[in-house]
Symmetry: C2
Subunit: 358 residues, 2 copies
């Protein structure tokens, strides 16, 4: 049976990428050796890293004065590394609180300087993106979360800012074009649109670095990664390799514009059904609806049918549709690699179910 | 042609592990989904992590008051995390300097407290392990490096210490039995005897934690990993999975005693040839010779033959034999997964070469 993988992350990757990854783990390019057992300083991995960097720059359209860093761990490590590398104790960083992850970023930053929460939708359980805020010119940076996986909200556009933007793009990175030079720093855990868990991409403008006075351990210093081209120590070879394969796939599939077009089509298909179907309703403000994570619940009068519909989804090969515990209901993550036909299958299931129960 | 992988790391892994890893990356247990695209909170990965922890405890014989933590990144991150988690600014940590990695650990520790280098073999290019030192009782811990990959030295036994031992075991972890309760903290990057690059195991005694006063970011706090069973955030799923497969293989192969017996046999086979063969000589003190990384050079009068012998090795399917630039010559890494027949093939090549040239 065909599987439909709606997991929020680690998430679906292109089928061709997974096939190639499996071959490389068993026997890399017919060498008789696995990629997992090759030296990271050997020609094979050096070529992989070089291609990953070149593809990342090309796909994003990244100006030369930005570094691409491949780090270990997830975006959670960037919650403290960004302020540790950017914010002095007497300086102020601005944060927009759009969910649990933004909130964790705020908490971690407090250890390094002054943190001002410029806006928050916490009181409304993060069902919308705050937009009306003034950005003080004296701040060191403004931190945003472009897409909120748990709640299904997404920033359609980024604010014009007099201070550098720092953005956690983990859950919509490479899902749409963005103007890189709007940002001072971008970070994204790989395990949504890019690759498996185990690496995080940091994109940083050269002039953002070297302005803090505190001691930085080598492995926490963006400058060390920039200077050593992410090879100060052994990098997470396999996660970077799979990410490189996904970057190849994105390029071949038409780049970020094509990703955006397909993601929008998938999202609208599902949102239309949610709005049309009497059993379901969306959970977030229409203008802030994410094109990556689509959250919906059963209308109150049908709440008792939730388990039955869940079981029906699983019975039809659909995995990862359970909503986060803080929202409940359902969440369909429709990342780059999710085919339109998976969304179509879900929409048809919702439609059939409503007809049976209506 | 059969490949002989003498790489120092990332290094050879058991053939059955690599085959299984390749299958899992393409299609995990016939689910129709790759392990790379499954949620880390799902039953599949939870079972993997549980088994990895149980096997690690069983294989080492780990007492209950020790935590097993699966972290991101390599041992280089532990160079600063260990002192950050263990050492207050007014306390003293002792270090034995046995090579470049120990030296990096020393440099990173200096930011967190007083660092006293108890002994060093730096002046002799780290060709032996210092043994005559007194351990002050007032220190917070004593840091050791059990095996020095670059130089090919290994601690045959660990000193009796009045203060907790902290040990970087990266390059000989799980290659021989060790008494875990001799140590307060052990860390080891996976990419030698355990798995691919991308995860590091930290084994820490419960009472080592919670004694420092400084702020620790969540992702740098051993207690957060202990409390959340390495699942505070998304862990490096695939590197942990492959490590679990290797742990299964170690158990099935007879555990650490069997590993030690085989590793010793391989090492002695090669050292005997190095000592016997007029073309070559070992580079380190006989009593400190590593059973993991075997360094040797050509005797001065044959130095001009080095390139020819290198080419011969490569021509015979042997990879990773080039010595580290700071030592030169050759380095054969003979980790757990390297079969005896690979060492035998190298020994025969050395013998034949000497006969031809002698």
């Amino acid at each position: 049976m065909k599987k439909h993988n709606f997991s929020a992350g680690p998430a679906i990757l292109p089928a061709t990428v997974l096939k190639e990854a499996g071959k490389a783990a068993a026997n890399y390019h017919g060498m008789g050796l696995s990629l997992l057992e090759l030296s990271h300083r050997g020609p094979e991995f050096m070529a992989i890293l070089e291609e990953a960097n070149a593809l990342m720059r090309e796909i994003i359209g990244l100006p030369d004065h930005y570094h691409v860093l491949w780090m270990s761990g997830g975006a959670s490590s960037q919650f403290f590394m960004a302020p540790m590398n950017l914010l002095n104790e007497d300086e102020t960083a601005l944060y927009v609180d759009t969910g649990v992850w933004a909130d964790k970023a705020i908490e971690e930053a407090k250890a390094f300087g002054n943190v001002q929460v410029l806006a928050s939708s916490k009181a409304e359980n993060y069902t919308h993106i705050p937009k009306d805020f003034k950005i003080p010119k004296t701040a060191k940076y403004l931190h945003l979360t472009s897409n909120n996986t748990i709640y299904g909200t997404q920033m359609r556009k980024f604010p014009k800012s007099p201070v550098p933007l720092v953005c956690d793009m983990s859950s919509d990175f490479l899902s749409r074009p963005f103007q890189a030079d709007q940002f001072g720093l971008i970070y994204a855990g790989a395990q949504k649109n890019l690759g498996p868990a185990g690496t995080t991409v940091v994109i940083v403008r050269e002039d953002m670095l070297g302005t803090v006075h505190r001691h930085l351990p080598s492995m926490l210093d963006y400058r060390v990664f920039a200077k050593n081209d992410s090879m100060y120590n052994t990098p997470p070879v396999f996660p970077i390799y799979v990410s490189m394969l996904t970057l190849r796939w994105i390029k071949k599939s038409g780049g970020l514009k094509a990703m955006q077009r397909k993601n929008k089509a998938k999202a609208l298909l599902l949102y239309d059904e949610i709005d049309r179907n009497p059993l379901f309703r969306g959970t977030v403000a229409a203008e802030d609806r994410s094109h990556m994570n689509i959250c919906f619940v059963m209308n109150e009068q049908y709440a008792s049918l939730e388990k039955e519909f869940s079981a029906l989804c699983i019975g039809n090969g659909m995995s990862g549709l359970k909503g986060h515990r803080s929202v409940g209901g359902f969440r369909a993550s429709t990342y780059n690699a999710l085919p339109q036909k998976s969304v179509q299958a879900l929409v048809e299931l919702m439609r059939d179910f409503a007809e049976k129960k209506g």
